[in-house]
């Protein structure tokens, strides 16, 4: 039963493999170039297992100690998981002990596969989703660890390598922009953040920006309701 589910899951994860190895390696290499031992990216990619937040955490580790700030930022950056979870309430039902791992390892890519792919009826759905999640996590953790190990061997001027994080978010931003008809959410995100940054400075802007974004959305929702009425 397990072998069958594994064989069904593997092909769906292969496209993810290339991307995760590349991004994971850039993440590991970045951490090594900032002076962290490979243990850091290995454990962080395993325990946090949320790509964007891991990149942000590199910055957090290099700034002043502020765990409350780190917690809030993680909640906000990963708020989309709440939505994934709500969509998967039904699908993860009756998966037994695997449910805990399925929830723990629910990254964007595993969610997308598990939410959209229906394996053939003779494949156990719980094990299929389990292997999708596990394979994706293996790719990511291996990439991060390999990248950091490479950082010990390869030496060149890495000034500016941290831009890989900006590049990643810019590309994600463009992809999201193209898939949405209304750009109001993206514009709210950029303008609230930029406004808070310019007014409050780089040390203080993040939490006010997050609050302002939520307020804007609540106001927008209220306004839409009034229009419908």
């Amino acid at each position: 039963m397990k072998t069958k589910a594994f064989k069904a899951a593997l092909p769906y994860t292969l496209p993810i493999c290339a991307g995760f190895l590349f991004l994971g390696m850039s993440y590991g290499f970045l951490m090594r170039s900032k002076g962290f031992s490979f243990i850091y990216p290995m454990l962080m990619s395993f325990f946090i297992f949320a790509g964007s937040m891991e990149f942000v955490t590199v910055n957090l580790l290099l700034s002043a100690f502020n765990p409350a700030h780190a917690l809030l930022l993680a909640l906000m950056v990963n708020a989309r998981h709440l939505f994934y979870g709500i969509s998967m309430l039904e699908k993860y039902k009756n998966t037994g002990f695997k449910k805990l791992y399925l929830i723990y390892g629910m990254c964007d890519e595993s969610f997308t596969i598990n939410c959209t792919v229906l394996p053939s009826p003779d494949v156990d759905k719980g094990w299929f989703m389990f292997f999708v999640t596990m394979l994706n996590q293996i790719y990511w953790v291996s990439g991060a660890t390999l990248g950091a190990l490479l950082g010990y061997v390869i030496h060149f001027d890495v000034t500016g390598i941290e831009f890989v994080m900006t590049a990643l978010f810019v590309v994600m931003f463009i992809d999201q922009w193209d898939e949405m008809d209304s750009h109001s959410s993206a514009l709210i995100g950029v303008s609230c953040s930029l406004l808070c940054l310019l007014v409050l400075g780089s040390e203080q802007f993040l939490i006010p920006a997050m609050s302002l974004i939520i307020v804007c959305f609540l106001v927008q929702k209220r306004l839409r309701k009034d229009v419908v009425r």
Partner: protein, 107 residues
């Protein structure tokens, strides 16, 4: 930051991340429907948060004497490249290489 502080910071990030993953399953065990506000925020927040993260990446560059000029050049380059080729890894890789070149040789 000391090692202990690093570990606490990472633990806070793990806690925050895991809360977002486990909360729906804890609050809505079987059959309960989540309030409309939560579902609504879940649909719109991802689009805003990426914008926030882009600005977060530029937070220090904006206040330097160059006001983020090399960053903006690289971002424009990534945008053109990505609109043209639509290849995520290529756009990220080429954009980072261009930025490193700019920072190391031109600015």
């Amino acid at each position: 930051m000391t090692t202990v502080q690093s570990i606490i910071t990472i633990a806070a990030v793990v806690l925050g991340t895991m809360l977002t993953r486990f909360l729906p399953f804890l609050i809505f065990p079987e059959g309960k429907t989540p309030p409309a506000v939560i579902t609504y925020l879940g649909t719109v927040l991802p689009y805003a948060v990426i914008g926030l993260l882009v600005i977060y990446c530029l937070k220090d560059a904006i206040f330097t004497p160059l006001h983020g000029l090399p960053e903006l050049i690289a971002i424009a380059f990534i945008t053109i490249l990505h609109k043209w080729k639509k290849n995520t890894l290529f756009s990220i890789g080429a954009g980072t290489v261009l930025y490193m070149f700019l920072i190391q040789n031109c600015f």
